[in-house]
Symmetry: C2
């Protein structure tokens, strides 16, 4: 877990703010939410710039885009690879930090004939909160 100085990545102020917002958030925000939060730090920022910045930051590997059936994409500070769990009751999205079984990527690559770059999975199930509510 390495400290990354957002002030020093050679980003424009707008991109810095967008990255800051995503880093500070405890949840996975939509583009719209990123926009709302960014305006608090940089009132003049425009919607298009948020989208541009999201694309830029994604291409640069600073953030990751997550999407599920239904609704807008969400964004995630992409400092390292991780997986997701999504609750089929309430829709909550959680991160999973674990190593993959050694053979998983190789197996998937051999089945698909793709040259593998990365693999990420989504676990569908019921989150602890919803389990407790029954």
């Amino acid at each position: 877990m390495q400290f990354e100085d957002i002030q020093n990545l050679g980003l424009t102020k707008q991109r810095e703010v967008v990255l800051q917002v995503i880093s500070d958030a405890h949840e996975h925000l939509t583009a719209n939410e990123v926009f709302d939060n960014s305006k608090k730090l940089l009132p003049g920022i425009s919607f298009a710039t948020v989208y541009n910045s999201l694309r830029f930051l994604k291409d640069a590997g600073h953030i990751a885009e997550i999407s599920f059936g239904g609704g807008a994409s969400r964004f995630d500070r992409g400092t390292h690879r991780h997986d997701h769990a999504i609750c089929t009751k309430c829709g909550k999205l959680a991160d999973i930090e674990m190593e993959h079984p050694a053979e998983l990527v190789a197996l998937a690559a051999s089945y698909s004939k793709f040259k593998p770059e990365s693999l990420e999975f989504t676990l569908r199930g019921i989150c602890p909160d919803c389990l407790a509510k029954v």
Copy 2:
């Protein structure tokens, strides 16, 4: 691999057609493409009905929705669980038919504290066609 008679699922004609279109397609279609193809079989069908049918068929487990960053959801005949590979060069989407390593779901569930229902992954990499083009 079991034969399923689409004519006999107790579906409305519109839902039958939507399911037929998805089953017949060799690729993963967007809602828009499903609509276009459905019109060929049932000219009067409306866009809203295609969306309604997609939701219905998804809830009933006949089809699955797949979404990635960027663009519309795609739909897949969901007769059985499978994974996907997506090409980072050309965007092509392929199915992966393989068993998961035994411990994968249990491991993911224990890390997330979710009660697991299903798990699917996406392999990112370069597809055979793009590899050949270099």
